[in-house]
């Protein structure tokens, strides 16, 4: 019976590939956008303006504190009532990008705060402007702290992308649900789904680990 089921599953490979493609596509686009926006938010959040910083903090809390499924629902089904009509793919991208941006914002903030104040003071003392300090001095150093959790966050993002199947996108998890209807072996099917995610995520985890190890080694801290 297992053999038969395997054959039947193998027959669904075009569907599986499409699902994998959708998962990768969704993750990739929102990963790039989320990173850009997350960095922007992070920089704004550490900037002097309390109002902006507070607003970003509240938004990040709201997104971190509520289930992602609910966020997707609101974007896809409630926004139209405010006159914003989105197709499922766009809605999914927006929801995922927003989620990623909020988490990345927190990572970036932690990175920026980890740069010793002496570095900022040195830049300040040599007359660099705010943006020059950020770009030339703070961000390059923050990157060492930021990179490992950033890559870790990408892994979480890829896995979170499965939630968007609720609004009708056929991603890898969705394909699992579809296949399990014809091949009623949840263990086998979801093992294979897990394997699919593993193939995408594992290299990223390896990369995160390598970055973490290199963090100490690279052109290290100033020795006192």
């Amino acid at each position: 019976m297992i053999w038969q089921q395997l054959q039947s599953i193998a027959g669904s490979y075009p569907l599986a590939l499409r699902g994998l493609g959708m998962t990768v596509m969704l993750s990739l686009i929102s990963l790039v956008l989320g990173t850009l926006i997350g960095f922007g938010l992070g920089i704004l959040r550490t900037g002097g303006n309390r109002l902006i910083s507070g607003a970003i903090g509240a938004w990040v809390d709201l997104i971190r504190g509520t289930p992602f499924l609910v966020q997707i629902f609101l974007i896809f089904f409630i926004l139209p009532e405010l006159g914003i009509e989105l197709d499922a793919f766009t809605a999914g991208i927006i929801a995922l990008t927003n989620l990623a941006a909020c988490f990345i914002c927190e990572i970036v903030v932690a990175g920026i705060r980890s740069v010793p104040t002496g570095q900022v003071e040195a830049a300040l003392a040599s007359g660099l402007s705010r943006w020059q300090r950020m770009r030339q001095v703070v961000l390059p150093q923050a990157m060492r702290i930021v990179l490992p959790p950033l890559v870790g966050q990408y892994v979480l993002l890829i896995k979170d992308s499965s939630v968007v199947s609720a609004i009708g996108l056929t991603d890898l998890t969705r394909v699992g649900w579809l296949v399990v209807q014809r091949v009623p072996n949840g263990l086998l099917v979801f093992f294979l789904v897990g394997l699919g995610y593993f193939i995408v995520c594992y290299p990223l985890i390896m990369l995160a680990r390598r970055l973490e190890q290199r963090m100490g080694a690279a052109h290290g801290e100033v020795q006192l």
Binding site: L62, T66, P67, V155, F191, G194
Partner: protein
């Protein structure tokens, strides 16, 4: 959907949401306790010098991190019976959450222990402490402080992840919202209410994190 938003129905279903909230809370607490146990065990293995323990621990952590909780949940749920182990859904759910979060907790604990300056270890060595004494008296109390905030972060993730247990018939908070959606066709009411409850839990945990930070800050001063 919003112009007909029915607070009355939400109030009517409030007892159900209450029950769901209670279930979510206690199953999260149990799962987190399990995750701590799993995490401490894995971290201990991962910090050993010998490969015998380190490699399986690393492999487990990577496998959990690289696959979705859903797949892990189903793997347990459908897999255990094939080994002749039939457990109640709730137990499978708590087990799945513990095993999943345990991998993340292990990484947090390991990072916490490794963040303790080498000098602290050396001071312990130099005063003739054994490995166990050093861990117990010097390293762990300090690592504990460093790991509390990320652990609470992981607790927040776990609480939200517990929503997935509605898939295997555990009646928790999300399930209450789904009931409103399927019985009364009021998804907006259902989802916004559960979002509010989860947000409540989130702020609770966040407050706890801030509080513990202040409390620990008082007990052992900063370095």
């Amino acid at each position: 959907m919003l112009e007909n938003f029915s607070f009355r129905t939400i109030v009517e279903y409030l007892p159900l949401f209450g029950q769901g909230l209670v279930t979510t809370v206690w199953l999260s607490v149990l799962s987190f306790a399990g995750a701590l146990a799993v995490g401490i065990g894995l971290a201990a293995m991962n910090l050993q010098r010998g490969r015998l323990f380190r490699i399986p621990a690393k492999a487990y952590i990577d496998a959990v991190r690289a696959t979705p909780l859903l797949a892990q949940l189903y793997f347990l749920y459908f897999g255990l019976p094939r080994l002749g182990i039939i457990l109640p859904e709730l137990v499978v759910g708590i087990l799945a959450l513990s095993l999943n979060s345990g991998a993340y907790v292990a990484e947090i604990i390991r990072a916490g222990i490794l963040s303790i300056p080498r000098g602290q270890v050396e001071a312990g060595v130099a005063s003739g402490m054994t490995y166990v004494q050093r861990m117990r008296l010097v390293i762990l109390p300090q690592a504990f402080k460093v790991t509390i905030p990320p652990l609470l972060g992981q607790a927040i993730v776990l609480v939200k992840d517990s929503a997935l247990l509605s898939l295997i018939a555990v009646a928790e908070l999300t399930r209450a919202g789904q009931l409103l959606a399927s019985d009364r066709f009021m998804p907006a009411e259902g989802f916004i209410t559960i979002a509010a409850f989860y947000l409540l839990l989130y702020y609770g945990l966040k407050g706890l994190a801030a509080l513990s930070g202040r409390w620990l800050g008082l007990a052992g001063a900063r370095t």
